[in-house]
């Protein structure tokens, strides 16, 4: 599973909007590079990213090759209940990477 990284506060007040930062190691090949033999490296990207919390989606991103490699996202979540914040990246070939963090809500 590719390496992923999350940064978010450990706790928040109910109703507070907190920043979440997420990143994953992935070349996001755009189809315009070629290898040492001169063969074009085909497009290979993550196509979907979703963050879910308290049973619903926070944010969903539909990725295209125009995003940089090792895609980085920053977005906001409104705290409601203590629980797990889940992250899911889906590769174009169907491979899924997941990560999660616990949020304490006071």
């Amino acid at each position: 599973m590719p390496n992923s990284r999350i940064k978010m506060p450990e706790s928040a007040a109910a109703g507070e909007s907190i920043e979440i930062r997420a990143m994953i190691m992935h070349p996001m090949e755009n189809g315009f590079n070629f290898d040492s033999q001169g063969t074009t490296i085909p497009v290979h990207i993550i196509t979907d990213f979703v963050c879910t919390y308290d049973g619903t989606e926070v944010v969903r991103v539909q990725l295209q090759p125009g995003l940089s490699a090792n895609p980085y996202f920053s977005f906001y979540l409104t705290a409601s209940r203590s629980g797990s914040v889940d992250f899911r990246w889906t590769d174009q070939d169907g491979t899924v990477t997941t990560n999660s963090a616990l949020l304490q809500v006071t």
Binding site: R5, M23, M25, S68, A69
Partner: protein, 248 residues
């Protein structure tokens, strides 16, 4: 070909003070390097941290089994590499030291050059020394390697017939298309290079530079590049280690 635009008198020539590649970056890129989360090189540092505790080999040992917590025991290690290995009778770099540990101590396999795992471990260990000045020994048994590395730096090569020094000493501060020529210091390696969109080692950089002047590059891990690496780290002495640096 190289005589474009103006130079800055403040940029050093051979006699000037060492300047890190960081000082040639745009504010945007500097911000990215300084961001401990968003710096893409930290993905490799994070991977290295995981590998540090991962068992390998028949005795199921890990780096941690002998070295304990990297934060405690690896703090100054990267400042000293490349260094002379009495056991092997030659100068080796950090990547080779990692592989020596894996092969002879863990009885595991060596990691391939530019593999994600070797870059991760090298970045992780180097990152422990972040902020400390590069401090390699170039005297005594390392002297021969140092002399060879220095000769390499000043030797013209390739179809463009250029030596490292022609750009990275003579024309520091001049522009090559849209970019300002830096001193070519290696205090930030392994780096996240935006051109490669991934992490790369010093040897990958040397290969790239040699190709750029249309010279046949040496193999990754070759003694020629280790010698050059030693000389380059000496050039970078007293510059702080910045691993993982972000460069163009």
């Amino acid at each position: 070909m190289l005589g474009c635009a103006s130079s800055s008198a403040a940029d050093s020539t051979a006699s000037g003070a060492p300047r890190s590649g960081y000082s040639y970056l745009s504010e945007e890129t500097r911000r990215l390097q300084d961001d401990d989360f968003a710096n893409p090189g930290m993905l490799w540092v994070q991977k290295g941290e995981e590998l540090w505790t991962q068992s390998s080999g028949p005795a199921a040992q890990s780096c941690q089994s002998c070295h304990g917590r990297a934060r405690d025991t690896m703090r100054t290690v990267a400042t000293r590499y490349p260094l002379y290995s009495p056991e092997l009778g030659r100068v080796i770099n950090l990547e080779q030291q990692i592989n020596r540990c894996r092969v002879s101590r863990l009885k595991s396999s060596a990691l391939a050059y530019e593999s994600e795992d070797l870059l991760a471990l090298t970045a992780f260990i180097s990152h422990q020394a972040k902020g400390l000045p590069v401090d390699v020994r170039v005297d005594g048994p390392a002297a021969a390697s140092f002399a060879r590395g220095r000769a390499f730096f000043y030797q013209r090569r390739g179809q463009l017939n250029l030596a490292c020094a022609n750009c990275h000493e003579r024309y520091v501060g001049f522009r090559l298309h849209g970019e300002t020529i830096s001193q070519g210091q290696i205090n930030g390696f392994p780096i996240y290079r935006e051109l490669w969109q991934t992490m790369g080692s010093t040897h990958r950089m040397f290969v790239w530079c040699n190709e750029a002047v249309r010279a046949e590059p040496y193999p990754l891990g070759s003694q020629e590049y280790i010698d050059l690496e030693l000389f380059e780290r000496w050039r970078a002495r007293a510059l702080p280690i910045e691993t993982p640096a972000v460069r163009r």
